[in-house]
Structures are given as structure tokens and as C-alpha cells.
């Protein structure tokens, strides 16, 4: 039997990682929903923002949580740049071409990092890296807790923007029906640009947060990319709330699953969850059925 403390500890850790998954997957699902593109380089944007946080701390002692305010706009513009020069030309191209293009960007960025920073695993040692908070018998790392709070807030804030602002409505309109959105006078090209950049900006927040307790290496993006894909299917493609709850669910599955099976096998549990969802409710937890 598993002790309750161990179980709760796993739940807590699962929710923390889950909040990060939720944040990274939100950006991905938005891009999928509006642009209908699978952005394979999504993970590399995350990786770059993690390196940015790392070097801002190493070089200028800027705390990663504060660095977020700097890195978010940087990633936003980086996303805009990438969209304008590389994604925009292929928006009307066949799906597989688009995927291959983002694969090319991914390979480029990953190896750029490799060339600049080497393959060494790096971790940040902050003054409070080892401090923990106590919640009854459960202990939570300070950086973990802060990351959780910020992830949730940003994701919820993003959701509020989507639901209640003109920009958010335009984005949702463009996702549902491009032609109708144009007829309503929405500048769809601009919406595409903003959506992609916002997706990148999400990673500009997630990166520094992760860097406070996760290792930084050129290939770290791939790990989160694959998990984000699963979350996106689970939540329903293009479904923001789905990505949120899906992220938390996957975080929990991985973490709680690790108690019952060897830690490195827990992704298999994620896959089992994926198969079950695909068999029972394939449009995702929150998605809508066709036909």
C-alpha cells in the first residue's frame, strides 16, 4: 500500500508540472486551432527562453521570475519574426510542407543552442532553490510553488483575454471560420501574427519558470513538445480550457503513475490515457464531435 503522504506529495508535484504543461500546451493548441499548423519548433522556443533565463541570471544576477518580464516580450517578437518570415509564406501550402518547415526551424534552433551553449546539462542555483514550504506533511519547493502560481495565473489571464476582449473574440472567430471572420472585417492576417506570437509568448513565461527547477539543455524542448502534443489531443485541438485541464491531468498521471511504476515508465501511462480518450471521446475532453 502506498502511504497517503507519498500520494499527496505526488499529487502536488503533478499539479505543479501540470500547470507548466497547461501553459505550454495552451500556446500550442491556440496555434493549432487558429492557424491549423502543428508547430514542431514549439519546444525549441521553450528551450531558448529557458537559456535566456539561465544566462540572464548567470550574467546579471536577474532572478528568473523577474526575468519573465523581459523574456516574455522577447519571445513575443521572436515569434512574430518567425511567423512573418517563415510561416506566413507557407500558410496555404500542404499540411506536410508546413510540418516539415517547422521541423526545419526546430532542427536549426536546437543545433544553434548546441553550438552556442554545448550539450551540457545546466541548472540554476538560486538562493531559495532548496527552500521549501510546508503544507501539513507535504513539502513544496519554493521555486516550484511560485512557478505553479504564475503558470496558473498567466493561463487564466490568457483565458480571460480570449473570452472577454475584442482581440480574444477575433482570435476565436478566426479559429472557427476564417472566411466569416474576414467578412466581419477582422484582419485575419494580423490575427494570425498575433496568435502565433502569443503562443510563443506563453513559452516566454514557461521557460524562466521551468529554469528555476528543471535542467536546461538543447534537447529539453523535445520532451515538452511531445507531452504538449498529448495534452492537445486530450483537451481537443484548439480548445484552450481543454489544454488547461488536460495539462493538469497529464501532470497528475505522470506523477502519480510514477509511484506505481518505475519512474521512467510513467509516460506509458500517459499514452494509455491517450488511447482511452481516443476510443471513448476522441474529440477530446472538451471537443465537439463532427457529423
Amino acid at each position: 500500500m502506498v502511504s497517503l503522504d507519498l500520494f499527496l506529495q505526488a499529487v502536488v508535484y503533478g499539479l505543479i508540472m501540470g500547470s507548466i504543461y497547461a501553459l505550454t500546451s495552451s500556446g500550442l493548441t491556440l496555434i493549432l486551432g487558429v492557424l491549423k499548423i502543428i508547430n514542431v519548433s514549439h519546444g525549441e522556443f521553450l528551450m531558448l527562453s529557458m537559456y535566456a533565463a539561465y544566462y540572464l541570471f548567470q550574467g546579471f544576477q536577474i532572478d528568473p521570475f523577474l526575468a519573465t518580464f523581459l523574456i516574455l516580450p522577447i519571445l513575443f517578437f521572436f515569434g512574430a519574426f518567425t511567423f512573418y518570415f517563415f510561416i506566413r509564406p507557407i500558410l496555404k501550402a500542404p499540411e506536410i510542407n508546413q510540418i516539415l518547415l517547422t521541423i526545419g526551424i526546430s532542427i536549426f534552433l536546437q543545433n544553434l543552442a548546441l553550438a552556442l551553449f554545448t550539450a551540457d546539462f545546466r541548472t540554476l542555483e538560486l538562493s531559495y532553490s532548496q527552500k521549501t514550504l510546508a503544507l501539513g506533511k507535504i513539502s513544496i519547493g519554493v521555486p516550484h510553488f511560485a512557478a505553479f502560481m504564475i503558470s496558473i495565473s498567466v493561463t487564466m489571464g490568457f483565458y480571460w483575454v480570449l473570452k472577454n476582449t475584442d482581440l480574444g473574440r477575433s482570435i476565436r472567430a478566426a479559429a472557427q471560420n476564417r472566411e466569416a471572420a474576414i467578412l466581419f472585417g477582422i484582419n485575419v492576417d494580423r490575427i494570425y501574427l498575433i496568435t502565433f506570437s502569443l503562443g510563443a509568448a506563453c513559452l516566454g513565461v514557461a521557460g524562466p519558470l521551468l529554469a528555476t527547477f528543471y535542467y536546461v539543455t538543447p534537447t529539453v524542448g523535445t520532451v515538452f513538445l511531445l507531452t504538449s502534443f498529448v495534452v492537445v489531443i486530450l483537451g481537443g485541438m484548439g480548445n484552450f480550457l481543454g489544454a488547461f485541464f488536460g495539462g493538469l491531468l497529464i501532470g497528475l498521471t505522470e506523477s502519480v503513475g510514477a509511484i506505481f511504476m518505475p519512474g521512467s515508465l510513467s509516460p506509458v501511462l500517459t499514452f494509455v490515457v491517450l488511447i482511452v480518450i481516443l476510443l471513448l471521446k476522441p474529440e477530446g475532453l472538451f471537443g465537439k464531435r463532427r457529423r
Binding site: 536549426f108 489531443i233 518505475p262
Partner: protein, 326 residues
């Protein structure tokens, strides 16, 4: 005019085949160069297998390494454990891969989900196999499996020199190409293209879309797995990260798209052009700083997608597009 029954096409193809057959016999080729040739043929083979599903039927899998790995592991494992002949293991592995393909195909196609779902499911599936095989010690774990060195024999699919491997993969490639060519110009090929172009219109014409998608998946998986066994027998070593890797899945689809997706020879042309090129930049740039040559590779991919979206075959004019009648 790479069209049906076109004698120029067959003549050109036969000529190329003849050249490839005579190559190792006529010239003194270094072991390294021979290895490159074998890899080019190997990836041409895998790319053609992918193209059946991704190019003809338009169902894009970015997890084809799952099938390659299943083939490699089945034959190697059975060879190790019960001494089963690798050729037989090869067929068994291919059957297993087909069943796996049918499984994930069913999951993805059953509810008429958008094509993107299939892409993501295939990615997840290959990843899961990689993790599973890395963690199950019985199957070799993360350190993989080593193919036992018994004796040089065709029967045991083992040779000391690289030359027999060259001819085996050349034969496999040739058969694969002929198969793809045959499929392309029969009802199966037309139905797959119809499904690719417009699924609803295909349904309205009585095409059993689900059945054909599953068939294409099973065939593609079967062929890919055969390639996996070849790889295992050639390199004598397989591990989960390589044969089930995301990198392999990506590489398999780069060649057909760059060459010309949906055409019979596109995958081969793409591999013949891109693989040696990648090797070249690796030797030129790879030595000093790790990663530079791959940066160039990534940039080239981006450039090709923007500048030559129909691939190399498309660049040479509409005459070579098989989508038009001769």
C-alpha cells in the same frame, strides 16, 4: 512524363538500376563510400515505404520509426533468444508492425477525426515504444540489443564484407519501387489519391475510405519493418533511441517531401540528393563546433519548403507530375 507504361521512364530506371548493380564490381570503393551508398539505398527504401501512406494516401505519419523499430527488435530478439532465422524473424516483425499500424490507424481514423490527429498519434506511439523498450530489461533496455555474430552466411543474413548488404538493400529498394509503381497505376493507387484529395468526395463515389486507409497503413508498416531488420543485420546493434527515435521518423519523411511527395520516384530522388549532401556538410562543418552542420541542414529544409514546395520532382515542371495523365 514519369507516367504509366512510358518506355523512356522504364529505360531510364533500368539504366540507373544497372549502374547501381555494377558499381561495386567495377570501381574500387572505400568501405566508407560503400557505407554511404548502402545508407542512401536504405533511406530511399524507408522513404518509399512511408510515401505509400504519406504521399499516396495523404496520411502523414511522423512516427514511422515505430514500425522500423518493431521490425528490428522482433527479428533480433528472436534471433538472440531462440536462434530463429533472421529472414523469418524479418517477416514476423513485419506482420507485427502491420498489426500495430492497424491499431493506431483504427484509433485515428475511426471517428473521422482530422488528419492532424493521425500525425500526433503516430508521434506519441513511436515515443511510447521508445520509452517502453528503454525500460524493459528483458528486451535489452536502454543499452539495446547486439546481433550475435555467428558465421558468414546468406541464410543467417550475416556477412563480413559490406558488398552483400549493398545488393540486398538494392534488391529490396528495387522491389519496393516496382511495388509502388504497380500500386500507383491500379485501382488501389487511384483510390488512395482520391482519399488524399477529398475524403468526402471519395465516400460519395463508394470508396470505403476507412478500409483503404487501414490497408495503406498496414502495407507501409510492413515494408518499413522489413527495413528495420535489414538495419539490425547490417549494423549488428540496435537501441530504442535510434530505431524508435523521433529523429528517424523525421528523417524518413524529409526525403519524400524534398524529392516530391506522392510520386513514385520522389522519395528516391530526395534521398539521393539530400543524404550525400548532409554527409558532405557534416564532414566539412561538423568537426569544429557540434551542431553547425545541422543548422545548415535545418535552414536548407526551411528554404526548400518556401521555395520549392512541390519538391525536386515538382521543380522539373509539370511534365513530371504524375497527377496529370500522360
Amino acid at each position: 512524363m514519369m507516367g504509366r507504361g512510358n518506355w523512356k521512364f522504364f529505360l531510364g530506371l533500368s539504366g540507373a538500376l544497372l549502374l547501381l548493380i555494377l558499381l561495386p564490381l567495377t570501381f574500387k570503393i572505400s568501405s566508407y563510400s560503400l557505407h554511404i551508398f548502402i545508407m542512401v539505398l536504405y533511406f530511399s527504401y524507408l522513404s518509399s515505404a512511408w510515401n505509400l501512406l504519406g504521399g499516396f494516401a495523404g496520411q502523414h505519419s511522423i512516427g514511422h520509426s515505430a514500425f522500423v523499430g518493431l521490425g528490428a527488435y522482433t527479428s533480433t530478439f528472436l534471433f538472440l533468444q531462440i536462434g530463429l532465422n533472421p529472414w523469418i524473424g524479418m517477416v514476423l516483425g513485419a506482420i507485427l508492425a502491420s498489426l500495430a499500424g492497424l491499431f493506431i490507424g483504427f484509433l485515428s481514423f475511426h471517428y473521422r477525426l482530422r488528419g492532424l490527429y493521425f500525425v500526433l498519434v503516430t508521434i506519441a506511439f513511436a515515443e511510447i515504444l521508445a520509452i517502453l523498450f528503454s525500460n524493459i530489461r528483458f528486451l535489452g533496455g536502454a543499452s539495446g540489443l547486439v546481433v550475435p555474430l555467428k558465421e558468414e552466411s546468406l541464410w543467417l543474413f550475416q556477412f563480413r564484407s559490406k558488398v552483400p548488404y549493398y545488393y540486398i538493400i538494392l534488391t529490396m529498394l528495387a522491389l519496393n519501387i516496382f511495388f509502388c509503381y504497380w500500386v500507383r497505376w491500379t485501382r488501389l493507387g487511384y483510390y488512395l489519391m482520391a482519399i488524399r484529395e477529398n475524403e468526402d468526395a471519395a465516400r460519395a463515389m463508394g470508396i470505403r475510405v476507412m478500409d483503404y486507409k487501414l490497408l495503406a497503413t498496414a502495407l507501409s508498416a510492413f515494408l518499413s519493418a522489413l527495413g528495420g531488420t535489414f538495419y539490425a543485420q547490417y549494423t549488428y546493434f540496435i537501441d530504442p533511441l535510434t530505431v524508435f527515435g523521433f529523429g528517424l521518423s523525421i528523417e524518413i519523411l524529409i526525403y519524400p517531401i524534398v524529392g516530391g511527395v506522392g510520386t513514385v520516384l520522389g522519395p528516391v530522388i530526395g534521398t539521393f540528393v539530400l543524404y550525400p549532401f548532409a554527409e558532405l556538410i557534416r564532414t566539412l562543418l561538423g568537426a569544429r563546433t557540434a551542431g553547425i552542420h545541422l543548422m545548415v541542414y535545418g535552414a536548407i529544409l526551411v528554404a526548400i519548403m518556401i521555395l520549392a514546395p512541390r519538391g525536386i520532382v515538382g521543380l522539373f515542371g509539370k511534365r513530371f507530375s504524375p497527377k496529370k495523365e500522360k
